[in-house]
Each structure stands twice: as structure tokens, then as C-alpha cells.
Symmetry: D2
Subunit: 349 residues, 4 copies
């Protein structure tokens, strides 16, 4: 019952095996090997678009370098107030962009409110240097709280961004979970809806360490290549990432993992809804479930071996917490089993 | 005959196996797992000193964050003019230290000349803000050109640094190769000679991706923890690095790999010395061999399957290149075989 | 009727004359001249405390370098959501601190709400690197909207900051206006209430260009000296700033200017309150007056020669703007005359 | 006999008077006033080219923001090893460019050696991210050691820069001194020889504080405007700089000041050449004289009231210093008098 985070899991057996299989032999370093190139081509097929792909070490690096690559003096990137770039990356965007700013936009259920974004963007007057200037919009899909932007919602934010000549970044640390939730394609969820650059995460969905920046404008590749190297994010034995993605995409393992993970979350949510005294914070759409639980119930669950953390109530939530209640987050992964869920259900039932 | 770089090799079988073995089960993320902690303890044993250990993605990151952690406004780090931080890291030190400067110091055979370093340091007057101020000295062991500082040479540079209240950083991308070349211990080669912080590399010596910052003053751990996270260098599934180091240290695999690699380099050097028309640039001490070869000979070797690059003649070298000659670098690794060397020897013999 | 900003005025005659008087002769550069030193001593007398004083070119530089001097990796400075550092400095804090973040705290009438600040600070857990960490609190006195923190209010925020081991910065671009509004002393308004570092502005109150960072802990002087030089903020002919401050402090000119300016604002506010169809946004306490005016009235005033700008309604304001109404800002200065106010009064009367 | 630096002088009477004259009345702030605009137009006339002009506080800021405006990830600016940006600006270029690097190029008498520059530039291979990449070349005119590039020498360096698609920056802290030394025009010394951006200094030649970035490509104005503001370098009462430049350019005061200053330097050099036991380091071309003097002679001169500093012997100098000799620098300015020189001459004669 390890629901603390999807990064508490290890690596999927198929990915571990593929990595072992790639250990022998020699290959050009720094992304110039055959496997690197084949995997980058595979990204192009999956996205149905010419892409430039940059492996990096972490989702934080992918996000920060993506936004930094669009940075300008006085630049401001707009994201949800609870976005990972805002809450959980220790100021990496500001640091790696040489002093760019993040501006938080509210919105229910972890999704940027387009009206609020529009008002924020409309306040900026070109050439008015005092206020700085917008340089990017960033959304998270699936969001930090396990919800998903619909394709229309992405298109609406993208339209706003385009009206202000801004690129749209998508933090896809849980890209696959959103994709299968929407039953759509990578192309539909990204460039066909105006997304310009993606932090494509494989780590939380069964890889050891497989994160990539995917950019649809190959003209940006040159700057990103220097940015990545300068940030100490260019792996020498790059094929160790390529091999992971190779297995990740083979036979749609990534989609299968995400479907399993989302399905486990749905089962967990059902168990919580059915449990007397527990209630869902909101309906989960991907692989994160948030529930309101009394402190003593939570302690008993943890004592029984369930690992999970409390979580701040999102600003704007209509939920009211009782005096001895907290909101808790449960995350499922490819490694979560039906037995885990059953055991949890029996504990709360 | 892949002599292009030691990072063209993959992962040693024992390391690949250990990584596979760690793939199952759940573990706390971000370095808080049991294996992470055990491996950090192992570093303490190996160095015979209390240490704080920070896994990072690349040697570039290890170097830049090490020097950044000692950075100050107007700060200048001193390194050899041909150091990796200077020549091959795309300005990562300057970037990640928020604008620190590197100042190159000459010296024969890739080693900082202590006299030149002293003169450079002596030029700075405390409180004279215009010139900036020294904040660190960095040496590379083994050096970029396959030579090794003796323990006395390290102590001499360290004494100079201490006289100016400066920390001494050691770029140990090839730490093990130097260690076995000197037949000494990690403690003797570092803190017992005044080294304060080490970029400890495992990648070039048989790991996939295993680099660590090792610092002997645990009081610096707090700042480094924030620095690392902010640079996007904190792995979530940190045990994938821990597992590699676990195998790396087990049964002295790291020393065995380095001895093999150095020995292959010595054989290669012997073959070159014996070959008519080829000559060594200088005697190798670790796993890199530099040789002067005519262009047509080099082309023939490459056509026969030998991979190696040309290299700029070090400033201050007494070598004179003929019109159709170049200096070439050959790097050996754990994966180099005696057959490779024999085949090369027969080609040049 | 130039109410656009207090920086539309030129220099007070006594300050201009003092500057002319200092033009002849030779003096050590970079702040080492006799006049520089005398003026720094004068700051110590005025603040009744040992101080280190750093002249800089602009208020933006004073604020950014003040906060940068307390910066750390992952550092976050807390300020009011409408603070000048947040709204009008083009990201200078983020840039000059190498990627620090500003976190906006709400609060009525331009003053930080202590409860909201406390909740924001309490969310941070030491050593939890993901969230970054607080490094400073910054208040503006007088505020961006012409209000003033009482001494008790400063003390309350300072107490919160101290409880979290954070320094308190005071943006005193309009220091003198607040000081005379409170009828207090520089010591009472700063270090006696826990302020650690002050951006001390003279420009808006009658100087050409006289801004200083005043720090009460001389131990910080060394870092600030390097920070300032490195930011291109160390004037060579530093005495041109010293001469301005010399005249500024002589015979309490600075207090006289501020009293005049505040008094003009009060008269202007009275005229607005008395005018049919105009209303004050809130009661002014220093030298800025905010009024709600219909668009056509505003245009007529501007056509008649009154210079002033519209201003966004502060978040949290209880004011409701009619369809054809806007909030406007009027700023007075040492150069505003009673005739200006009378003429304005007759236009709106 | 204040020969310590040209920034030990104050302000020329005509400039002080013009500044006083501008103190009254109201004007738009931040460079939007009529005088600001008129002075910027005047720059265009003087340079015979469309220009964008940015006033900044110091020469260090002008240099750093000029080079930062051309910065890119991994960017390297090339300058003389003894350039002011390298030796006397506390790492401002690295800091304000977000981590750019300076690479020093040698050359006799303070001037970049074109051959060495070419070899340095030729080492970079496009797209090879490890080495970083050149982003600008910077020359100083007149140089740090009082010599002057001929127009042909500027053209030669510019041609090299253009061949590598690099902009050429000219640090003109002593622009006027070089201009009158060459008896040429601003246009001939800059854009007609391929200079793209100029740090135009007025401070050392009779102003209080008048430094400007002059850029010949107005398309760069937008970025520089944000860069300047973000660096805390946008003066609110900008007309106090404009007024200084207004007087500076009126009736060719700037050229007259520079001619006087250079002429005083020539007289001083003549006195030194004629003095038994003293010798010139090299022939001065602008307003700086370097002489080799024995320690006891130097002490006696200083005791007699002459202010001057010792200076490191330039690398590559053919001069040999005796055991009790040092190289000393003497700087003249608009405020140096013939009486000063005569008195000095009589002391050394």
C-alpha cells in the first residue's frame, strides 16, 4: 500500500530488462548513438510531428529548461498557483532562466482559470519595461491534483497564449496518465491544441530516470542543446535513457502502465467513497486520489502499512475540513496491485 | 578498438545486474531510501571520514555545483587552463554559480603550476572589489591528458589554497584511475592532502550514470541540498544511482575496473612506442594515451575500425608537430580488451 | 499640476547648489573621498546606529541588492502583492539575486497582512528542499498607495520575520514621507522595530539621484561591497551622490521637503473630497492621493494641464468602480505648489 | 598633481552649470522627457547614424549590459587579457549576462592581437556544445594602458568578428581621448569600421555621471530597455544625465576636454623622458602615461603631493624592471593644469 508517490516505485521489469540488454558494446556518447537517434525518431512517430528531443535528468530540469529556452529579460511565465514549477522545484525556473519570474494563476481543481489568465495577461503593456513581460504559459497535464484538462480547455488556454504571442508549455510529468484518461493521441493533446513544448515524463510511469523535453519547432533545438549542456543535463551515456524510452514505447507499455495506474486510482477512489467516514476531495481523473480523513483514521491506516501524505487544501476549494480532518493524497503507479487496493478497502470498509 | 572515450562503453555487467535487482519494490524517493543511505555510509567508509554525498546527473553538474557552493559575488575559481570545467562544460560553472568566473592557470602535462597559481592569487588584495576575489581552487585527478598529480603535488596546491583561505575542489571524473595509479587510498588522495570537496565519478569507470559530490564538511550539506534541487539534479528514483554505486564498490569492482583500464592504456602506449613512425605525446599515467601520428596513418587506422579523436597540443608542450602530423587521444575503459590492443598493435606494428 | 509622479520634479535648489559647489577639486573615487565618508557618518547619526551605507543608482538597485545580499539557493522574499519590487522593477530582484523568488502577500491598503504572512511562512518546513525557503521579508514605507505602516505594525511584521530567522527589509523610496507622517525618528521606524536593511531614497524627495542601501549590521558590508560593484552600481565620482545627501540632511531639508509634500497631498485630498462627483479611494497618509473619477472628468482635467495616471484598483479593495469610472493616482513632491492645488481645486470644484 | 585617475576630478564648470540649470520644472521620468529625447537625437547626429541610446550609471554597467544583450547560453566574449571588463569589473559581465564567460586574448600594448584572436575563434566548432560558443568581441578605445587602436586595427578585428558572425563592442570609457588622438570622427571610429555597440563614457572626461550604451541597430533597443531596467540602471530623473551630455557635446566641449587631457599627458611624458633616472613604459597616445620609477623616487614624489598608483607590468612587455623599480600609472584629465605638470617636471628634473 505504497501510495506516497508514483516515484516510490522502481522500474518496470520490461524497462529494467531493456536497460540491461543495452549495457554491452560501445556507442557514441552524448546522444549521438544509434539507439538515441532511433528513440528520437520514435518520439516523432508518436507525436506525428517533427520534433527535437532532449533527455534530461529530472522533471524539474525539463520544466525549467523549457521555460528558460523562451526566457527574456524581465520575462514572466504563467502557471497555476499550485503547479509543480511553483510549489515543488525550489525556484529552478527562476534560477535556470537567469532570473525569470513565475506568476501564479488560480483556477478550480488544479486547472488554470482562463478568465483569470486573460486578465493577468491583459495588464501588460508592450514596451512598459517596469512591469516585465509575459514570456510563456505553462500547464500541467495531468495536474498536481490528479485532474485533467480537456482538449478544449487546452485549446482555450493556447488561444489566449497565442493572442499574446506566447508559447504554451505542457508539464507532462504524468503525460501518459492524462493521455489515457482522455483516450486521445499525443498529437491531439499537444501541438494540435497549440502546445509548443512538452516536459515528457517517463520516470513516474515505470522508468528509472527518463525525462525528455520535446519541442515541435526544430528551430529551437540549437539553443536548447546549449542550455541543456550548460545546466549539466547532458548525459554522456545517453543510451541508458534511450533504452528506457525504447522499452517504454514498445508494445504500448507506457499506455498500458498508465491505464493500470489510473484504474487502480479509480478503484481506490471507489473504496474511499464506499467507506464510512471518508470522503473524496474531488473525483480523480488520473492516478492521484485525494480524500478527507480524520486524523485518527489516517494514523491507523499508516500504522497498518499504508504510505500516504497529507496535502494542503487547494485555494478556492469548497471543501470544509473538520477540526480533526485533513486532506490526504494517494498516488498509484504501474506497480500498484489490486491486492493493495483490496487491502486498503478492507481497512477502511 | 573504441578508443574515442571511456564514456562510449556501456555499463559493467555487475552494475547492470545490481540495477536490475533493485528495480522491484517500493522505496522512499529523493535519496531517503534505505539503499541510498547505505551507499552514502559506504562512501564514508571508503573515504574514512564523515561525508555528505549528493548524487547528480553528470560530472559537469558535480563540478559546477561544487564550485557554486563556495561561490560569492565577484568570485573566481582557479583551475588548469585545459581543465574540463574550462574547456568542456559550456560555461556551467559560470551559469550555475550565478556568474562566477574561472581563471585558467598554466602548467606542464595538465597539472597546475604552483608558482603560477601563487602569483595569480597574490595579485588579489582583500576588499579591493574591482578585481573580484578568489573563491576556490580546482584540480583534476587524473587530469584531462591522462597524467596524475602526486600526493605531494596535491598537498602543495592545497597549502597554497589554504594560505588564501580557499577550498580545494577535486574533479574526480576519473578518480579511480588516479587512485590505482598512485596505489593510495581515497583518504590519502583527498582530505588528508587538504581536498575539501570531490566530484566523484563512476560513469566513465563502468556505471551508467553515477556521479556524486562528496564533501568532507557536513556543515555544507544544507546549502548543497538546496543547490542540487534547484538545479534540477535531485533524482526522484535516487536508488537507481545508489544501486550502481553499491555494485561499483562491492568487492572493489571500481578499483579492478580502473586497474584494467590503466593497464590497457599502458599496453596501448607500449604498442605505440614500438610502432615505427608513431610517438607518444608523453608517458600516460592513467587511462588516456596521447600519440603523434601522421594524417594518413591515422586515417588508415580509423578505416580499420579504430575510433579516436585528434586533440589540441597542450599549451607549453615541447612537442613539435610535423606538417602532416596531429596529436591524437586514445582512451581505454573497463570494456577495452587485450584483443583490441593486440589488433591495434598489429595495425601499427 | 504635475501629479504624475514625484520623480517628474527636478532637484531642490539647495541640492543643486551643493552639487555645483562640489564640482571643483580632486577627490578619491569609488566612495573613498572625504565627503563620502562624512556623509556616511551622517547616516549613522541620523539613524543613531552604526551603519554601512552603499550609494546606488536607483531604488530598484537598492531593493534588489538588499534582498540579494540575503539570498540563498531556493530563496524566497515575501512582500506585498503590490510592492514596487513585485510590480515595477522588471524582475530585478530575481535577476540580481541569481534566481530568487518574490512571494506576494495580500493586505488591505498596501500593507502586508500579518496573518497571511504568518500562514505563508508556516508552510515552509526546514530542510524540505522542494518548496525552497524564505530568506527575507520586505515592506514598503510609505507604501505604493500612499499609506503608512504604524510603528506597531512594523514591529508585528518584524516579530514574525524574526520568529522565522528572517531579515526585514524596508523599501524606503519614500522614507521621509512616512517618517514625517508618523512624526517619529529614523531609529524608531527601523532598527528599533527590527528592520535590518533599508533602501533609503532621496531622489523622489528633492535629489537628482541619491539612493542608498543602509544596513545596521556592519558585518554584511563586505558582501554588499562586492555585490554593488559587480552590479555596475559603484559610482566612480561617488561624491556627486554624497553632495546631494549632504544638502539633503542639512538643516533638515529632507524632513521639510517631505512635510511640504505630504501637506500638499492633504490639501489635494481635501479638494477632491469637496468636489462633487469625485471621491477618494482611501485617506492618504503620505504624498500620494488616489481618487475615483469619471473618464470624462479625468480627460477634462488632463486637457486643462493636470498630469496624472490611472491605477489598478488594489486587490481586496471594497471600492466599486462605476462603468465610466477609474481610479487615478496623484503624487505631490517638494516642488508642488499651493497654487497647483488651488488651480486643481477650482477645476474640480 | 592628482594623477591617480581621471575620475578623481569633479565636474567641468560648464557641465555643473548646465545641470543646475536643468534642476527646475517638471519633466517626464525614465528617459521620456524632452531633454532626454533631444540628447539622444544629438547622439545620432554625432555618430551620423540612427542610434538607440541607453543612459546607465557606470561604465561597468554599460559594458556588462552591452555584452549581456548579445549573450546566449554558453556564450563567450573575447577581450584583451588586461581589459577593464576582465580586470576591474568584479565579474559584472558574467553576473549580468547570467553566466557568460570572458576569454582573454593577449596582444602588445593593450591591443588585442588579431592572430591570437583568430586562432581562439577558429577553435570553436558550431553545434559542439561542450566548448560553449563565441558571442561577442570587445575592444577598449583608448586602451587600459593609454594606447589607441588605429582605424585599420579596428577594421581588422571587426572583419574577424564578422567572419564568425560576432558583434563588436567598443568600451569607450575614454572614447573622446581616443577620438582626438586619431583626429577622426565618431562614425569613422565605430560603425564605419564595423563596431556594433559602444559604451560611451562621459564621466572620466568632465561629467559627474554620464555613461551611455549606444547601439547602431535600433532593433536591439527593445531587449536593452528591459535589460537596463531589470539591472536597476534606469534612472527616474534621467534628465540629470541628459543635461550633462547636453553640455558635454555643446561647442565641442567633450573634444576640447579630451584634447587638453591628452596634451597634458604628452607634456607629462616629455617631462618624464627628460628626467634622469625615469623612463616611459611606452609612448602614450591618450591621457595615460606609464613610467618606470625607482621606489625611493616614487615615494618622494608622493610625499611631495603627487598622487599616482603602481601598475602591473603588462604580460608580454619587453620592459625589464630593476629590483627597486616599479611601473607607475599617471592619468590626466580636463582638470589637470600646466602648473601641475610644471611642478611635477621640476620635482623629477
Amino acid at each position: 500500500m505504497f501510495f506516497a508517490s508514483d516515484n516510490w516505485a522502481g522500474a518496470h521489469p520490461a524497462i529494467a530488462a531493456r536497460l540491461s540488454g543495452a549495457a554491452g558494446g560501445f556507442s557514441a556518447a552524448y546522444g549521438d548513438g544509434d539507439l538515441d537517434k532511433a528513440v528520437c525518431d520514435r518520439f516523432g512517430e508518436i507525436f506525428e510531428h517533427e520534433v527535437a528531443v532532449f533527455f534530461v535528468a529530472t522533471g524539474t530540469a525539463a520544466n525549467a529548461l523549457s521555460l528558460a529556452s523562451y526566457g527574456k529579460p524581465g520575462g514572466i511565465s504563467f502557471c497555476h498557483t499550485q503547479a509543480h514549477v511553483m510549489e515543488d522545484e525550489c525556484g529552478a525556473v527562476e534560477y535556470l532562466s537567469g532570473g525569470g519570474r513565475l506568476h501564479g494563476i488560480g483556477g478550480a481543481l488544479g486547472r488554470i482559470d482562463p478568465g483569470e489568465l486573460e486578465r493577468a495577461l491583459d495588464r501588460f503593456v508592450p514596451e512598459f519595461v517596469h512591469a516585465g513581460r509575459p514570456t510563456a504559459v505553462s500547464i500541467t497535464q495531468s495536474t498536481e491534483i490528479g485532474t485533467v484538462y480537456s482538449l478544449d480547455e487546452i485549446a482555450a488556454i493556447s488561444a489566449l497564449a497565442k493572442r499574446h504571442s506566447l508559447p504554451l508549455h505542457l508539464d507532462g510529468a504524468r503525460f501518459a496518465n492524462a493521455l489515457v484518461a482522455l483516450e486521445t493521441t499525443p498529437a491531439e493533446m499537444t501541438w494540435k491544441r497549440g502546445v509548443d513544448i512538452v516536459s515528457f515524463g517517463g520516470t513516474k510511469n515505470g522508468c528509472w530516470c527518463a525525462e525528455a523535453i520535446v519541442v515541435f519547432d526544430p528551430g529551437r533545438a540549437r539553443e536548447l542543446a546549449f542550455l541543456r549542456k550548460r545546466a549539466g543535463q547532458l548525459f554522456s551515456k545517453s543510451r541508458f535513457v534511450a533504452a528506457q524510452f525504447d522499452a517504454y514505447f514498445r508494445d504500448d507499455l507506457w499506455l498500458e502502465n498508465a491505464r493500470h495506474s489510473n484504474s487502480m486510482a479509480a478503484s481506490l477512489a471507489a473504496a474511499i467513497e464506499a467507506a464510512p467516514g471518508l470522503r473524496l476531495g474531488w473525483q480523480p481523473q488520473a492516478n492521484e486520489v485525494f480524500a478527507v480523513i480524520t486524523d485518527d483514521r489516517a494514523e491507523k491506516l499508516q500504522a497498518a502499512g499504508a504510505a500516504f501524505y497529507d496535502w494542503p487544501l487547494p485555494a478556492g476549494s469548497t471543501e470544509t475540513l473538520g477540526e480533526n480532518e485533513k486532506l490526504y493524497r494517494f498516488v498509484t503507479s504501474f506497480a500498484t496491485t489490486a491486492e493493495d487496493i483490496d487491502r486498503f478497502a478492507s481497512l477502511v470498509g
